[in-house]
């Protein structure tokens, strides 16, 4: 039997992945590989993957047959920045969960977007701290029961994609795991972008979240995403009350602006006496 197309990008000895049955990480991984295959990459030689702590951080490390840095919790982005600035010809991609990227690591995310650093951040948002057992996250919907909000979450969830737009990212998109073709297309766009690109993927964690909110099976959560997703163009015509509990999907911004690396190397040239 022929290997699945993605096996060439993977360390076979690390398969199968340790993700729970029903986890959305496999879908994200598959979409990523589909995107790079379509972009013409036969291997991951030109890539460096940085990830922090959490289930989504395990997507590249150790599974991808590539250079990867599994960093501290929340610190994938500054590590990625160090790599990218020293070796600007490499594609540097950060994978992480919502807790890692939008919780403990949010400061770095905002500043990387502000600098328009030429990296791609793929944030798998399962709305909960899955690896540690399902505690409330900065992205958990209001009212949801988690292991640390037994009476329901009283906090507002963060709209990370909108935040990225205002921080200065060049490309921002949000999809869910049931929008695989859109997601793949966005990953391709993000990887080609010469600036900071951010993709949020709403994903399911039946183990640590779904079963506490009455969606024990992965398919129940995916149907929830499908039935509550509103394209951003349509959302812009709707009232705030109508959007309550909805997931706004689509491209939030797609613009051209000089990236941080490009500017730094220009500055170096100037300091060395070039033009």
């Amino acid at each position: 039997m022929e290997d699945h197309f993605s096996v060439k990008y993977l360390r076979k000895e690390c398969l199968p992945t340790p993700f729970c049955p029903g986890c959305g990480n496999g879908i994200v991984m598959n979409c990523f590989f589909k995107a790079i295959e379509e972009l013409g990459y036969r291997d991951l030689r030109n890539f460096v993957f940085c990830s922090g702590i959490g289930c989504a951080a395990w997507i590249p490390s150790p599974h991808f047959k590539a250079d990867s840095i599994h960093t501290l919790h929340g610190r994938a982005i500054p590590v990625a920045m160090g790599v990218k600035l020293v070796k600007p010809h490499l594609k540097v991609v950060v994978f992480g969960g919502d807790g890692d990227i939008a919780g403990i690591g949010l400061n770095h995310l905002v500043h990387a977007a502000r600098r328009n650093l030429e990296i791609t951040v793929i944030m798998v948002n399962n709305m909960v701290y899955g690896m540690t057992g399902g505690q409330v996250a900065p992205t958990t919907p209001e009212g949801a029961r988690t292991t640390t909000t037994p009476y329901g979450n009283i906090e507002n969830p963060l709209n990370t994609a909108e935040l990225m737009v205002s921080a200065g990212a060049a490309y921002v998109a949000r999809w869910t795991v049931c929008h695989i073709f859109h997601l793949k297309r966005s990953i391709k766009k993000a990887l080609k972008k010469e600036g900071f690109s951010f993709i949020e993927v709403i994903s399911q964690c039946p183990t640590s979240f779904g079963r506490r909110i009455g969606m024990r099976r992965a398919i129940d959560m995916i149907k929830w995403f499908r039935d509550n997703s509103i394209p951003i163009q349509k959302a812009r015509t709707m009232k705030k009350e109508e959007l309550k509990g909805k997931i706004i999907i689509g491209e939030f911004i797609d613009k051209e602006a000089d990236g941080f690396c490009k500017k730094i190397y220009k500055l170096i040239e100037k300091a060395r006496g070039g033009s």
């Binding site: 460096v48 960093t71 500054p78 590590v79 920045m81 160090g82 600035l85 020293v86 010809h89 060395r272």
Partner: protein, 383 residues
């Protein structure tokens, strides 16, 4: 600052502030990546780097916080650049988790700490020596650290170079534990004609693993990202090829004992010190950093008064030179340890002395005031 530099370029003697000397030492050592966050009394290092690094093709960035600083120099190091950050107590505290990551992943990098009065914000512009134990034990878990202690602008230059060399040789973060005095003093700095530079050992093929060695004290070769080695870097416990083993006691023990012994096992090669004074002395002084400068003066005065004192000045605090302290303890009746804290290094001195002689402390904290030569002499006289 730039103009002053240009005027001095021809000569071998520069008139530099300690922090500037540190930045210049870093560049001489091959540092090509600096990330930092403003903090008194270390900011001049970042300021000088922001001028000089681009001139030599290096990268300077001011980042959002010290956590980003240390993490980005770790990324830069894996991409192949010699990298550094500089901070003071509050920033050093923020960096501790990532310093542990650098130990665990065997990432060469240099962390300059210009000590100021703490804890917390303390007295931001006033010098102290309160980070001695933090420099050795600041991050969680077991490891061994290399910590250097300069006492002049000259040594801010020389020991920064040595910090890079040690970090490359042993594939480990190295801490240059300076203090406000050595950082802000402006002194002549002599630039040696030849500077020894050590570069990390890189793998040529896959015959040697990147995170292990047959030698239980060995330093593995370090691959560079983007060269096709498919390197797996992780701060979790890993085997010799970087694969995570998050429950296996043997894998952890093997890794951690090697990280410990690759440094402790070479303590005699790493340790650097100065010893001066009377061979037949009954009093010993163990000092480091800015405090040693008061000891020099006290020794001059003591000589005139016919007092016999032997002075050991540590240029490396960690690994701690037990054997040298032991030797002195066998010869003298009392060892005095002056420090700008409430007694930190004295704990190590006492441990090494192990009852062979008396060990007494001279301490001072706050306001950045140094221990004076007379205060040292008075204690010596009372013995």
């Amino acid at each position: 600052m730039v103009q002053a530099l240009k005027r001095n370029e021809e000569g071998k003697i520069r008139f530099w502030q300690g922090n500037v000397a540190c930045a210049e030492g870093a560049i001489a050592a091959g540092c090509r990546f600096f990330a930092g966050y403003p903090i008194t009394p270390a900011s001049e290092i970042a300021e000088h780097m922001s001028i000089r690094l681009p001139q030599v093709g290096g990268i300077f960035i001011q980042v959002e916080d010290e956590i980003a600083a240390i993490n980005s120099i770790i990324g830069a190091s894996w991409a192949g650049a010699k990298s550094m950050t500089a901070t003071s107590g509050p920033g050093f505290s923020l960096m501790q988790e990532a310093i542990g990551y650098a130990f665990m992943t065997e990432t060469p990098c240099v962390i300059v700490v210009v000590q100021r009065v703490g804890p917390a914000t303390g007295q931001a512009s006033k010098g102290a020596q309160g980070n001695v134990m933090q420099a050795r034990w600041g991050t969680h878990g077991d490891y061994s650290a290399i910590v250097l202690s300069p006492n002049s602008a000259q040594e801010m230059y020389e020991l920064t170079i040595r910090a890079f060399n040690l970090s490359e040789q042993y594939r480990t973060p190295v801490i240059l534990l300076a203090d406000e005095l050595s950082a802000h003093i402006v002194e002549p700095v002599e630039i040696p004609e030849k500077i020894e530079i050590i570069d990390r050992k890189k793998p040529v093929n896959l015959s040697e693993p990147f995170f292990g060695s047959n030698d239980p004290r060995g330093v593995p070769p370090m691959p560079e990202l983007g060269e096709g080695f498919n390197v797996l870097v992780t701060g979790s416990t890993h085997n010799e090829w970087g694969y995570r083993f998050t429950a296996d006691p043997q894998v952890h023990h093997k890794l951690i004992t090697r990280l410990y012994w690759k440094i402790e096992g070479k303590a005699k090669e790493i340790v650097d010190y100065e010893i001066e004074g009377n061979e037949n002395a009954r009093i010993g002084i163990v000092s480091y950093g800015c405090t040693s400068r008061s000891v020099y003066e006290a020794l001059e005065r003591a000589k005139k008064q016919g007092m016999k004192i032997i002075h050991l000045r540590l240029k490396t605090l960690w690994p701690f030179p037990d054997w040298i302290i032991e030797e002195i303890a066998e010869r003298v009746e009392t060892i005095i340890v002056p420090e700008l804290n409430l007694g930190q290094l004295i704990r190590e001195v006492k441990r090494a002395v192990n009852g062979k002689c008396r060990v007494i402390s001279i301490t001072k904290v706050g306001g950045g005031e140094l221990i004076t030569p007379n205060e040292i002499l008075e204690v010596a006289r009372r013995i």
